[in-house]
């Protein structure tokens, strides 16, 4: 088990149980299954929840329940809550660096990833009350109507997070989805799940309403089909899929005409990977007409 106490210290460290995050709570997987996360020497770092289809369904129920209320929160409030996540993460910077190192990342790289993650949250926090102004329009229709188009959240977004970038990659996909008023269920990197679970703890402490973000750990091969086919998911973001998975995901997604967003070969550590089009990806354009009177 994770043991962050220095060698020779008298006190036995209290190892953390890594659990999943559904509806603002930290249950173990209902399936009671696990997989052992090992370091490069084969020593067990932690037993990670191997989430089941049922866990995913529960998470979707939680997300659907939370989405409408979250979408109604003011843009200002959503921005402040995202900023609050950044603040909480900043305060736990050392913990995240340590966890990345446990998963084999070098100190310097780990620090960079955590810092970039905090900055990314600040970046999207700032977009909360701006993307609407950039992407909406008043449309000069030829008839006597006032007509405008605004963005509205797509709804519930399922995210298969990047495999290689366990923290930054995850947050780079969650943040633009939720800043736009969506709720999401994310599957953490299978090989780098520790920071995802700890990030759920940060969310828990950041005034993010329960159910807005749900994070599962487990086998991607087992859960991809569920993420793609669930009939109450409106959009699926899947990162780093191979051609075969691409096809399978899109076929399953078509059952309820999901929006399918494939994000492959993106270097999340590069600042060019952050832009408001990631927010727009999980938005719907709504156009409203009203007579002006002549």
């Amino acid at each position: 088990m994770a043991n962050t106490t220095k060698k020779g210290a008298k006190r036995l460290a209290v190892a953390k149980t890594y659990k999943i995050f559904i509806g603002g709570q930290f249950p173990r997987t209902e399936s009671a299954r696990y997989y052992a996360l090992e370091d490069k020497h084969g020593a067990v770092i932690a037993n990670i929840c191997r989430s089941s289809r049922k866990d995913f369904r529960n998470a979707i129920v939680a997300a659907r329940g939370a989405q409408a209320g979250w979408a109604k929160a003011s843009a200002y409030l959503r921005g402040q809550i995202l900023y609050r996540i950044a603040e909480m993460l900043e305060g736990r910077r050392e913990q995240f660096v340590a966890e990345l190192k446990l998963q084999g990342v070098a100190q310097r790289t780990a620090e960079k990833e955590v810092d970039a993650t905090i900055d990314r949250l600040v970046y999207f926090a700032g977009w909360a009350d701006k993307y609407q102004q950039v992407f909406s329009s008043v449309n000069p229709v030829a008839s006597a109507h006032f007509n405008f188009s605004v963005l509205e959240p797509t709804g519930v977004v399922a995210i298969l997070a990047p495999e290689k970038s366990g923290l930054l990659g995850l947050v780079s996909n969650i943040a633009p989805a939720i800043v736009g008023g969506n709720a999401c269920v994310a599957l953490a990197s299978e090989s780098k799940p520790l920071c995802a679970v700890s990030f759920a703890e940060v969310l828990h402490a950041s005034d993010v309403p329960a159910g807005v973000v749900n994070i599962l750990t487990g086998y991607r091969s087992e859960l991809t089909g569920q993420f793609a086919s669930h009939m109450d998911v409106n959009a699926i973001i899947y990162c780093d899929g191979d051609r075969q998975t691409d096809r399978a995901v899109q076929i399953a997604a078509a059952d309820n005409i999901k929006r399918v967003l494939r994000r492959t070969d993106i270097d999340w550590s590069n600042d060019s990977s952050q832009h408001p089009y990631l927010v727009r990806d999980t938005q719907e354009v709504k156009t409203t007409w009203h007579p002006i009177g002549t």
């Binding site: 229709v141 832009h275 354009v285 709504k286």
Partner: protein, 489 residues
């Protein structure tokens, strides 16, 4: 004490004299070939199909049936043309599209008559809605051609390549304009397939495109039915597929495109709720209901096919609606008095009839206006169902005909829950005199287009498209450009 109802005598014995639009200025060829590489060419397999007038069941013309080999030829022509078209100075590209708009305006009456002949819609609609809007669409997008960098802040834009476009039979020319205009403005070339029951105006549009001097292969038009559409969807040479049609076919297309990297937009079915609050201007709302469901024989994906009416005014609204339905004239699409034309095809009439039977079997009460309909042709009287429940098929499924399912509600929340309780999310309507209630409802309806105190309005500047199972992407307006561009960093 009961007082006599104040009712207008619509049945006062007045008859409108027929006012048919003349057809002598209209040129329809006996045979239409495929439009590929700037020329009309015979189909490889030499097969043809008839297109008929649904109001008379008479044959209008014989049209080429495109096979996969023809689609392949069209793709090659479009690919070849893409090189020059995408490199053309954008302002020049725009000028070609402006030309199309102008020629369409010049020939508008001819297009309107053919649209009504081939599709069965009333001349009043093809003349006042379909054709002018199609021209306006070309005019609008023409102007975008050299301004695309302003539409997507922080992004460099590039055309996609060759677009395959499949359109339905309810607004044949208008849908062609919706698809072709933005594609060309963004620098793409296209292969378009009109619906098999309404190919003529698209083929006439091919003449316009040739007259406008567009380089050969920029627009190719292949005619045929589902198999031709499948050949387009499955052809590896497309970079983009745009489809308007049913959700069932949309699903098949989305699956067929899986793993292909082709960009796609889908404009699919709908089952819009038209919500009438007790404080609405009732007479206007009744006109809105009529326009919502009986416009274009109800062959409208965004039709207000579900009426949700608040209980205090339900009886009055339904009574006024029935009275109004009695005044609607069903008949000759070319007659300028006609309100409701012919059902587009025999097949569609059968679909509608099957739903009339389903509605009655489900226990709903059916009312149809008592008007006479012609002996030949495909007709459906305006129809309403009352006493329906949320789970009834006539409430949940798209009928695509002049058939309205009426439900009542008491509270705002009940109306909203009922409105959102279908897999669709294309459009919606709200009628109330209270501004805050309008915004509360229009924000809460999960749909891409919402009309408040109006219904079924369209404009080239106004984005259109659905949420949920009503589709992916938007057409129209600045947002409609996105469907035909690659956005780079």
């Amino acid at each position: 004490m009961a007082t006599p109802e104040n009712k207008l005598a619509f049945d006062g014995g007045w008859q409108y004299s027929p006012a048919p639009e003349s057809t002598d200025h209209v040129k329809i060829k006996k045979t239409y070939e495929l439009f590929i590489g700037g020329e009309f060419v015979a189909p490889v397999q030499g097969k043809y199909f008839d297109t008929i007038n649904p109001a008379t069941e008479e044959k209008l013309s014989k049209v080429a049936l495109a096979s996969a080999a023809d689609v392949d030829k069209a793709v090659k022509a479009a690919r070849k043309a893409f090189v020059g078209w995408s490199r053309l100075k954008p302002a020049e590209r725009g000028k070609y599209i402006f030309r199309i708009a102008r020629i369409l305006q010049e020939r508008s009456r001819e297009f309107a008559v053919i649209e009504s002949l081939d599709g069965g819609k009333p001349i009043r609609e093809s003349r006042d809605v379909d054709v002018p809007l199609a021209a306006a669409h070309f005019f609008y997008y023409a102007g975008w051609a050299d301004k695309l960098e302003y539409a997507f802040p922080g992004r460099a834009v590039k055309p996609l390549g060759v677009a395959g476009q499949i359109i339905p039979w309810n607004f044949p020319l208008l849908m062609a304009a919706w698809k072709i205009a933005p594609a060309l403005a963004c620098g793409n070339t296209v292969v378009l397939k009109p619906a098999e029951t309404t190919p003529l105006t698209a083929l006439k549009l091919a003449e316009v495109i040739a007259d406008a001097g567009l380089p050969p292969g920029v627009v190719n038009i292949v005619t045929g039915a589902g198999e031709t559409g499948a050949a387009i969807v499955n052809h590896p040479g497309f970079d983009k597929i745009a489809f308007t049609g049913s959700t069932d076919v949309g699903r098949i297309i989305q699956k067929a495109l899986a793993g292909s990297n082709k960009k796609y937009t889908l404009e699919l079915g709908g089952k819009a709720a038209n919500i009438i609050f007790a404080d609405a201007a009732i007479d206007e709302a009744v006109e809105g209901i009529v326009n919502g469901i009986f416009f274009n024989q109800g062959h409208v994906c965004c039709a207000g096919s579900r009426l949700l009416v608040q209980e205090p005014v339900a009886d009055a609204v339904i009574r006024k609606l029935r009275d109004r339905m009695e005044t609607l004239i069903v008949g000759d699409p070319l007659d300028k008095n006609t309100d409701i034309g012919a059902i587009n095809s025999k097949q569609q009439l059968e679909t509608i009839k099957s739903y009339l039977a389903i509605g009655q079997e489900e226990g709903s009460e059916m009312f149809q206006s008592s008007c006479a309909v012609p002996k030949r042709g495909y007709w459906c009287r305006p129809t309403i169902f009352t006493g329906v429940s949320q789970s009834n098929r006539v409430v949940q499924e798209e009928i695509f005909g002049p058939v309205l399912a009426i439900q009542t509600f008491r509270t705002f929340d009940e109306a909203l829950i009922k409105a959102n309780n279908t897999p669709y999310g294309l459009s919606g309507g709200v009628w109330t005199d209270k501004g805050s209630k309008i915004f509360k409802m229009t924000q809460s309806i999960r749909a891409g287009v919402v009309w408040a105190n109006t219904f079924n309005k369209f404009d080239p500047t106004s984005p259109f498209g659905g949420n949920k199972e009503s589709g992916v992407g938007r057409e129209g307006g600045m947002h409609g450009l996105d469907a035909y561009l690659k956005l780079g960093g």
